[in-house]
Symmetry: C2
């Protein structure tokens, strides 16, 4: 018997605010961070790695919450825990005292995501498969048993969910072969951060086009005149046929969103992302009706499956951008994918941050193979930051994610990265690296 023996949660922070990487109209100075969970067993060959993503202060609070959330796992039989991750998830989430602090939202939900991500990583490692393949090898019934369908039955029943998956089951292998050949299409946000100079943006846009990207994204929402100038530059660089997306990071009220997007419509954006509060289902629906044919996208702050259910029911969004470290891992993400399939909304996961690209490649591949069966209107975000800290980093070629092959959920970070960027005691934050560099 293999026993889960310990949980260690590390506060890792990268000083991204120094270079304005990741800067937008709402978040001007984020230090990309992870509450990084390591679950150990008494088998030194079996561990699980997972995290949630934050932008700095408060990452310590997520660490504490993740430690607390993982405690019931210690001492348990790893096989029993991993053989039924549906039951494990339900066990953890029904702690009614912790539930009170959300329910199913905010810090406690981020912590749940971190812990369940580590368990899914461990399950895939145990099976010797990349996570997408572990899922793609499950039957429709097994998948639906894992999915958290609580509060969803007015929109999707268990029977409907199974039927949706059965439809595509016979042809899964064809789509796997296709993705192994072509990869899964992605777009880049690396060029468009709000804090970048026009020259830097122009250079990065040109590089993106050269690298084969057909979609690029700009941050907007701080100043309309500057947005018009930046969108014009973008169109000059990418041409009229490539897709331009714009992202306001929640800065507007609903009427303001409608006016502002209207003023940028001449640049023909594919979507406006996060035009207003991520909680405002009816607001997104109103914006969508007003700005069509420009699409509405949101989801990186979509707190849970109940929010996404309503976004679909209200016909509020054209693109669902679920987040792999905010939703409670595969159990909840799978439910959102099933809802999206039923309502015919493409899922284009949010990525970037720390390690989110590593996670979402598994999700997008699994979605195409087993749930949606379609690549139409689907692109997954890619941001070329911080991959060097991951043991099994994602690989993007010709504007597409290559299919990962190593066992696990690609979430493991290098120990030297953890030593360097642990907060506040790591070598970077204490200044020890600087001292070492001077000595050398």
């Amino acid at each position: 018997m293999t026993t889960i023996t310990a949980v260690e949660v590390i506060d890792v922070r990268f000083p991204t605010s120094l270079s304005a990487d990741g800067s937008d109209a709402m978040n001007k100075d984020g230090d990309y961070s992870a509450a990084y969970v390591i679950l150990r067993t008494d088998d030194s060959a079996l561990s699980g790695y997972g995290f949630t993503f934050t932008i700095g202060r408060g990452n310590d609070i997520c660490v504490l919450a993740a430690e607390q959330r993982a405690l019931p796992l210690i001492g348990r039989d790893a096989d029993a825990v991993l053989d039924d991750l549906g039951a494990t998830y339900r066990d953890l989430k029904t702690d009614s005292q912790l539930r009170w602090l959300g329910p199913e939202k905010g810090v406690e939900h981020l912590a749940m995501a971190a812990v369940m991500n580590a368990l899914w990583d461990m399950a895939a490692r145990r099976a010797g498969k990349p996570l997408w393949r572990l899922l793609a090898d499950m039957t429709p019934e097994q998948l639906v048993d894992i999915a958290d369908l609580k509060y969803l039955s007015d929109a999707l029943t268990r029977e409907e969910a199974i039927a949706l998956l059965e439809e595509l089951e016979p042809t899964r292998s064809e789509r796997i072969a296709e993705l192994e050949r072509d990869g899964y299409p992605c777009y880049t946000t690396s060029a468009g951060w709000l804090g970048y100079s026009d020259e830097k943006m122009r250079r990065l846009l040109r590089e993106a086009v050269d690298q084969g990207y057909k979609h690029v994204k700009l941050k907007v929402g701080a100043n309309l005149e500057e947005d018009i100038r930046r969108c014009r530059i973008a169109r000059e660089e990418i041409g009229p046929d490539a897709h331009l997306m714009i992202d306001a990071n929640q800065v507007w009220d609903v009427p303001q969103a409608i006016d502002w997007v209207g003023a940028l419509s001449e640049f023909n954006p594919l979507w406006i992302e996060e035009p207003t509060s991520p909680d405002d289902i009816l607001g997104h629906a109103a914006i969508r009706r007003a700005v069509a044919p420009i699409g509405v996208a949101t989801g990186e702050h979509g707190m849970n499956r109940v929010l996404f259910k309503q976004m679909f029911q209200a016909e509020a969004i054209d693109f669902c951008q679920l987040d792999s470290a905010r939703l409670a891992s595969i159990n909840e993400i799978l439910a959102v994918y099933l809802l999206a399939k039923k309502f015919g909304v493409p899922v284009c996961p949010h990525a970037g941050g720390v390690g989110l690209c590593e996670l979402v490649q598994h999700l997008s591949i699994f979605d195409y193979v087993a749930v949606s069966g379609s690549l139409e209107n689907r692109v997954t975000e890619f941001v070329d930051h911080l991959h060097e800290h991951f043991v099994d980093p994602c690989i993007v070629e010709n504007g597409a994610y290559r299919v990962p092959t190593a066992p696990g959920y690609s979430a493991e970070m290098f120990e030297e990265s953890l030593r360097e960027y642990a907060f506040p005691g790591g070598a970077y934050w204490t200044g020890a690296s600087l001292v070492q560099a001077r000595i050398a």
Copy 2:
């Protein structure tokens, strides 16, 4: 100049799970707890006390979050902070790194509530007025400056908000006199906890009727046959004319809620409370359409003003049960009251827990005096637990809250209660009280 010099946040937990006080279908074993904030100044006569409410585990996480949230206040001029609590609130809430952890929901929002509650308490103490009076003495413009209207302008503009308040301004003093005479009507939940025996429930219901209550509430949702038996007992005790409310604490999916409430309709409940996920605006709207004329009530887990805005827009609820320790204090609560007024929905605040009754009496009184001007369909929850720990406890007579007169927000707890129930080091939790009792 008076300077804010320190913040102390105490993890206080009461062992309510031992007696099944507060037990319901979702929360079977809560230990009522507070993350209790003390803001001190260099004037020993001026402090502020506030808290958020939790049910046990994770209260420590709220404590850490509240400490962090309050840090920017330390060293600041108390008068500058308190003279413009609208600006202070906006300063605190726009920390974009902490915002990422919600935004405006979950642990971070509970912490914001605790800190702002302490500031509002301090402001009322400085003015020498109970909080409701501090607010009732403000002009419509001053109140709207305080209210957080961000993300609400599609439902309520600043001009509309001012006009709503101006309408009732000339007659505020009449309603103050009326409440000082009669009190503000309340209902009791003390009889109906799910873990109570039939005999205990029957006795408590009889006492409630004797004490003048015209509304009582039962917890339901664990077992339909038992619910039918308990509702029958309740009707036997309170008679056909008193109001019976039922509360499912979020246990149902939407179709199940409709069926279950239908099966209890013979007992003529005034409302079904929390029939499903507190996040499910469209679900509540569907339930409301199906169970009318039984009303739908929710709000104790209503995470922020954007959720309530949509509840009103979707005509999802008949009663708004906002929570004084979950919304971000007066700044956000005032916005919800203004929305409720515009949409014609009565606000019946959630209370109970630790100290929530002490807070909400101020809210209900202010609402009647300055915002709604109506008592129709309005009752405020009262639960007769834990008031003995408060320096200025609420007083209920003849089924009504007496109008509080002491300066502040009635949030201060006795130091000996803090010493006894601080977790995990307090005398109760370490067993020291037991030892002392034996020695005595």
